[in-house]
C-alpha cells in the first residue's frame, strides 16, 4: 500500500512539472502566439542538452543527500583543457576530445568525492571550496587566455548545428543525442545495477544502508566522480554549442540552473527520491522558461531571480508532499 502511494506521489510530482511546463508555454503563447516557432524551438533544443548531461550527475549526488556546486567550474576546466588540445593539435579526433573532457571531470569529481566520503567534509563546504579552486585552476592552465572560435574544430561545433532528425526546420541536434544517451544510461544504471539501487538506499537512510553492509563511502565517492565526469563531458559540449571557451564565463553560475532543473523535476533534497524522467522534464521546463523570458522581452536581469524562485517553489512543494506521505504512512 505504502509503496504504491509513494509511486503515485512520484507520478503526481512529474505530472505537476509537466503541467507547469504547459503553463509556461501557454503564458508565453498568450503574449506571443508565435512562441513555438522554428527559431524558438531550436533555441530550446540547444539549451537543454547541457542541463540534462550535468543534471543526471547532480541528481545522483542529490539522491545521496549531497550537493555539488562545483560542476560549473569543472565544466570550465574541462572546456579549457580540451579547447587547448584542439588548438595545439587540430587533427585530434573530437570523440577522443569528449573522452578526455569526461576523464578530466572524473578526476576533479573524484577529489570532491574523496573529501566528502573519506575526509568527511560536508558536501556543500567541500564543493564550495572546489568551486573557487577549480575556477582558479582554469585560469592558471590557460594563463587567462580565451580559446577562440577558430581554435574549435568545425566538426565539433557541427554537433550543435546538425542532427540525425530535422522536422520542418526543427533540428534534433547531436547534443540532444548526447543528452538522451546520458539519460538512458543513467536510468539503466539506477534501475538495474546493484550500485544504482545502493544510491537510493543511502539517500533514504544512510545509517541503515551502512548497517545493511552497503559500501556507503565507495558509492558516495563513485557518485561524485561520475557527476564530475558528466560535468567534464558537458564542458566539451559547451565548446561545441558556443564555439569558444572563456576561462571566466564557461559554466560559471551553471550549478544554480542545474540544481533548479533537478529539484523542480522532483528530486528530493532530503535524498532517496528522484527520477531520470523528472530531471528531463525539469530541464525542458528550465530551457523553455529561459527562452520564454527572452521572447517575452523580459530583461535578462530576471534570470537569477527566476532560477532561485524555481528552487524555492520546488522545495516547498516537496516538503508538503513529504508531510502528506508521512500522514499516509501513519493512517495505513
Amino acid at each position: 500500500m505504502q509503496a504504491s502511494a509513494v509511486r503515485r506521489l512520484v507520478t503526481l510530482r512529474e505530472v505537476g512539472t509537466a503541467a507547469l511546463l504547459v503553463g509556461v508555454v501557454a503564458a508565453a503563447m498568450v503574449k506571443n502566439p508565435h512562441f513555438l516557432d522554428v527559431k524558438n524551438l531550436n533555441s530550446i533544443l540547444l539549451w537543454i542538452p547541457l542541463l540534462v548531461v550535468v543534471g543526471m550527475g547532480q541528481m545522483m549526488v542529490i539522491l545521496t543527500r549531497g550537493i555539488d556546486v562545483s560542476v560549473g567550474s569543472t565544466m570550465g576546466v574541462s572546456g579549457i583543457v580540451v579547447g587547448m588540445l584542439f588548438r595545439d593539435h587540430p587533427n585530434l579526433n573530437i570523440y577522443v576530445g569528449a573522452a578526455i573532457g569526461f576523464a578530466i571531470g572524473t578526476v576533479l569529481g573524484a577529489i570532491n568525492g574523496g573529501l566528502i566520503s573519506w575526509a568527511k567534509i560536508p558536501p556543500i563546504i567541500a564543493t564550495l571550496g572546489t568551486l573557487s579552486a577549480y575556477r582558479g585552476l582554469a585560469f592558471i592552465i590557460c594563463k587567462g587566455e580565451q580559446i577562440d572560435s577558430n581554435n574549435i574544430p568545425e566538426s565539433l561545433t557541427n554537433w550543435a548545428l546538425y542532427g540525425p532528425l530535422t522536422i520542418k526546420g526543427v533540428t534534433f541536434n547531436w547534443l540532444i543525442i548526447w543528452a538522451l544517451a546520458t539519460a538512458l544510461l543513467t536510468a539503466y544504471f539506477l534501475k538495474t545495477s546493484r550500485t544504482g539501487r545502493a544510491i537510493y538506499s543511502i539517500g533514504s537512510h544512510p545509517e541503515a544502508a551502512r548497517l545493511r553492509g552497503l559500501p556507503v563511502n565507495k558509492v558516495t565517492f563513485l557518485v561524485y566522480s561520475v557527476c564530475g565526469g558528466l560535468a567534464g563531458l558537458a564542458g566539451v559540449l559547451y565548446a561545441s554549442r558556443y564555439g569558444f571557451v572563456n576561462p571566466g564565463t564557461a559554466g560559471s553560475g551553471f550549478e544554480l540552473t542545474v540544481i533548479a532543473a533537478v529539484v523542480i523535476g522532483g528530486t528530493n533534497v532530503l535524498g532517496g527520491s528522484g527520477t531520470v524522467v523528472g530531471v528531463l522534464l525539469g530541464s525542458l521546463l528550465l530551457g523553455t522558461i529561459n527562452v520564454a523570458l527572452a521572447v517575452l522581452g523580459i530583461d535578462a536581469a530576471w534570470q537569477m531571480l527566476v532560477y532561485g524562485l524555481v528552487i524555492l517553489i520546488a522545495l516547498t512543494i516537496d516538503s508538503y508532499l513529504q508531510r502528506l506521505l508521512g500522514k499516509l504512512a501513519v493512517s495505513s
Binding site: I121, A133, G136, G144, M304, L305, I311, L312
Partner: protein, 289 residues
C-alpha cells in the same frame, strides 16, 4: 617582499576598512555555523540591502529613515531563511542557496546594470578615524564582535545556540525553543549583513547589484579557520576574529602582490577545504586519545 608599504601600520589599518564588512558577515556566520547550519545568502542580503537603501535615499528618504529601513529589511530577509529552515524543516544549505539567487536576483531586477548614487553626506565613514589613526569602521566592528562574543559565550541564548548545534533533537526534547532560536540566528545574520551593506554604501558611495559578490566564501572560511566545527556545537568569536585578520592580511598581501581575483578566490577556496580537513583530523586525534 613585493612592496615596502605592506608592513606599514597606517596602510594595514586603512586596508582593514575593506574587511570589516566581511567581518560582520563572519560574526553572523559564527552563530549560524555553531547552531549547525550554514548561510550562503549573506553576501546577497548585503547587496540587496545596499541597493534598496541607496534607492530609498535617492528617492528622498532621510539618511536615518533609509538606514532603519535597511536594517529592518536585513532582519526580514534573514528571518525568511530562518522560517524556511526551522518551520518548513528544509536543509539550510539548499534554502540559502536558493535565497542567495533570489535576493541578488531582486537587487538585479531593481537596479539592472545601473548603479545608485548615495547622498554625499552619507559617504565617507571609512575615512573617519579615532586618535592614533584607528579607522572608525574597525572600531564599530570590534565593538559588535565583543558584544556578540559575550552573547555567544556568556548568555542563555548563546548556550541554546551551542546546545542546538550539538544535538538538535535532544535540545528540542529538553524543552528549548529550537525553532525560535534558529529563526533568531538567521535573522541576526541578516541584520549584520544589513549593517555591512550600510558601511559598504558609505565606503563606495554607490550601490550595485553585484556588490559583495562572493563574500560568503571569505566569511565561511574565516569562521571555519577560526576553529568552529562545521558540524555545529563548537566555535568561538575570538577564533573567528583572529582568523578573519589572517584572511584579510592574506587578501591584502595578494592585492599588493597584484594576484588576479580568480587566483585569490582559488586560494581562499583551497584554504576553506584545508581548514575543514585540519579540523576533522584534529577531532579524530582527540577522539583517539
Amino acid at each position: 617582499m613585493q612592496s615596502k608599504y605592506f608592513l606599514d601600520v597606517r596602510y594595514l589599518l586603512d586596508s582593514s576598512t575593506l574587511y570589516v564588512e566581511t567581518g560582520l558577515l563572519a560574526i553572523g556566520m559564527t552563530f549560524i555555523i555553531v547552531s549547525g547550519n550554514i548561510d550562503l545568502s549573506v553576501a546577497s542580503m548585503t547587496a540587496l540591502v545596499a541597493c534598496v537603501t541607496a534607492k530609498l535615499m535617492a528617492s528622498g528618504w532621510s539618511i536615518p529613515a533609509g538606514c532603519a529601513a535597511g536594517l529592518v529589511l536585513g532582519l526580514v530577509l534573514g528571518g525568511f531563511n530562518g522560517i524556511l529552515v526551522a518551520k518548513v524543516k528544509l536543509p539550510s544549505f539548499v534554502v540559502t542557496l536558493a535565497t542567495m539567487a533570489v535576493y541578488r536576483g531582486i537587487a538585479q531586477v531593481l537596479l539592472g546594470a545601473k548603479s545608485a548614487k548615495l547622498p554625499a553626506s552619507f559617504v565617507g565613514l571609512d575615512m573617519m578615524h579615532l586618535p592614533g589613526h584607528v579607522p572608525l569602521p574597525l572600531v564599530i566592528f570590534l565593538v559588535i564582535a565583543v558584544i556578540l562574543g559575550v552573547v555567544l559565550h556568556r548568555s542563555l541564548f548563546g548556550r541554546w545556540v551551542v546546545a542546538i548545534g550539538t544535538n538538535e533533537s535532544a535540545s528540542y526534547f529538553a524543552g528549548l525553543p529550537t525553532a525560535a532560536v534558529k529563526i533568531s540566528v538567521f535573522a541576526l545574520s541578516g541584520f549584520l549583513a544589513a549593517v555591512a551593506a550600510l558601511m559598504m554604501n558609505s565606503r563606495l558611495g554607490v550601490a550595485r547589484f553585484d556588490d559583495a559578490r562572493g563574500l560568503e566564501l571569505d566569511a565561511i572560511t574565516a569562521v571555519v579557520l577560526g576553529g568552529a566545527s562545521i558540524f555545529g556545537g563548537k566555535g568561538t568569536m575570538l577564533g573567528t576574529v583572529l582568523a578573519l585578520f589572517l584572511v584579510a592580511v592574506l587578501r591584502i598581501g595578494m592585492g599588493v602582490a597584484d594576484v588576479k581575483a580568480e587566483y585569490q578566490l582559488a586560494v581562499i577556496g583551497t584554504l576553506l577545504v584545508v581548514a575543514v580537513l585540519a579540523g576533522n583530523l584534529s577531532a579524530k586525534v582527540n577522539a583517539k586519545r
